[in-house]
């Protein structure tokens, strides 16, 4: 079964902007929601959203990290994500 990629965005408080925190592979939006909530559960999120990667339109860079979808053998959770909430603020800077 083919599973599209959903990008995951979240924020810890109402005052913060949503940030990209990673992605999941899921058959549909319902499963993407569950997978995102259950996979990126290291924080007590105020808000989390998922967006189908295919719906993201690059504006100025065609080598955007959101395009193209990774091949199946690369579809591992966290592999292209920011490692954890905060990303570059963490030691090592996460994986961008």
């Amino acid at each position: 079964m083919k599973e599209p990629v959903y990008e995951v965005f979240a924020r810890k408080t109402r005052e913060e902007p949503l940030r990209h925190i990673g992605y999941v592979n899921a058959m549909d939006g319902d499963l993407a929601r569950v997978y995102a909530w259950k996979t990126y559960d290291e924080q007590n999120w105020f808000e989390m959203c998922v967006v189908p990667r295919a719906q993201i339109l690059p504006v100025n860079r065609h080598e955007s990290s959101f395009l193209p979808a990774p091949p199946a053998d690369e579809a591992v959770v966290h592999s292209r994500a920011v490692a954890s909430y905060g990303g570059s603020e963490m030691a090592g800077g996460g994986v961008r």
Binding site: V24, R33, K38, V77
Partner: protein
């Protein structure tokens, strides 16, 4: 769900409950606690065998949720003179009150999806009828649990829809649901057994209303999966029903089981924590 309004003030403690309500409420709480504990085991069986990493991570998380719900539900029994720790660690398999479907491991991913869609949803529907309970200790604990259950339902529904689209496994899912559906509808029990709890506003819906509510949750999913008709589940004027008949032979209102000797030995050893019995903390 057509809920039943009951006037009167809240019952803050178990000893404030009418005498003929205490026993059926204790029965219900123990049924729910055991069911949660066993369902957690079944999700945990698939942490490493799920079709994708995300599905396995979610199964693992749902196992934790169920064990948390079980712990929280067992704790309610302290009010009834029970020792929750003894209930969790010292009972024989035959004393467990989980649905029979949880007695032994499921054999396939389709069966797990059916279990999640039917048994987990049935439990959530029964807990939902406690959200406005007049029994305060129960009411205080249920909402958070239901918030977590919303994700479990999305998980089960997403997978059921997905498997329904696969010619390869669609039949497997249909057979698994067909096997579980009658017993899960029966699990809500008989009207007479629940009547006092409903009259006193402890449980806010009668078994038939819970069955209908349950069908209104799973019916649209089965329809999307292309299975509703084959399984006798249908909707008319906004109301979902099942065309089959529930068999009550051997049914025990207190355990909500119709026979069987309880979970198998390996399962019960895991449930009780037999391997680490020497390390149990007071």
């Amino acid at each position: 769900m057509s809920t039943v309004a009951a006037p009167g003030t809240a019952f803050e403690r178990a000893d404030a409950l009418p005498g003929d309500v205490r026993a059926p409420l204790r029965d219900l709480i123990l049924v729910l606690a055991d069911s949660k504990r066993l369902l957690g085991i079944r999700y945990s069986d698939w942490m490493l065998g799920a079709p994708s990493l995300e599905a396995g991570i979610s199964a693992s998380s749902m196992a934790q949720d169920e064990w948390g719900h079980g712990r929280l539900t067992y704790a309610l029994l302290g009010e009834f003179g029970d020792e929750p720790k003894a209930l969790e660690h010292e009972r024989e398999a035959s004393e467990y009150r989980n649905p029979e479907a949880l007695d032994r491991p499921v054999r396939s991913w389709s069966e797990l999806v059916a279990l999640a869609l039917l048994v987990d949803t049935a439990l959530a529907v029964q807990y939902e009828a406690l959200v406005d309970s007049r029994y305060t200790p129960v009411r205080n604990r249920v909402q958070k649990l239901l918030d977590e259950e919303a994700f479990h339902f999305q998980y089960a529904a997403g997978w059921a829809r997905g498997l329904g689209k696969s010619a390869q496994v669609r039949g497997e899912l249909r057979d698994a649901v067909a096997s579980l559906l009658p017993q899960t509808l029966r699990w809500f029990g008989r009207a007479e057994a629940a009547e006092r709890l409903v009259q006193e506003g402890i449980v806010r819906a009668r078994p038939d209303a819970l069955r209908e509510r349950f069908l209104s949750c799973i019916g649209p999913v089965l329809q999307d999966a292309g299975l509703a008709g084959e399984l006798g589940v249908g909707e008319r004027d906004g109301r979902w029903s099942w065309s089959g008949e529930i068999g009550w032979e051997g049914w025990d209102d207190t355990t909500r089981r119709a026979g069987g000797s309880g979970p198998d030995e390996e399962t019960i050893a895991r449930v009780r924590g037999d391997k680490n019995r020497a390390l149990l903390m007071d």
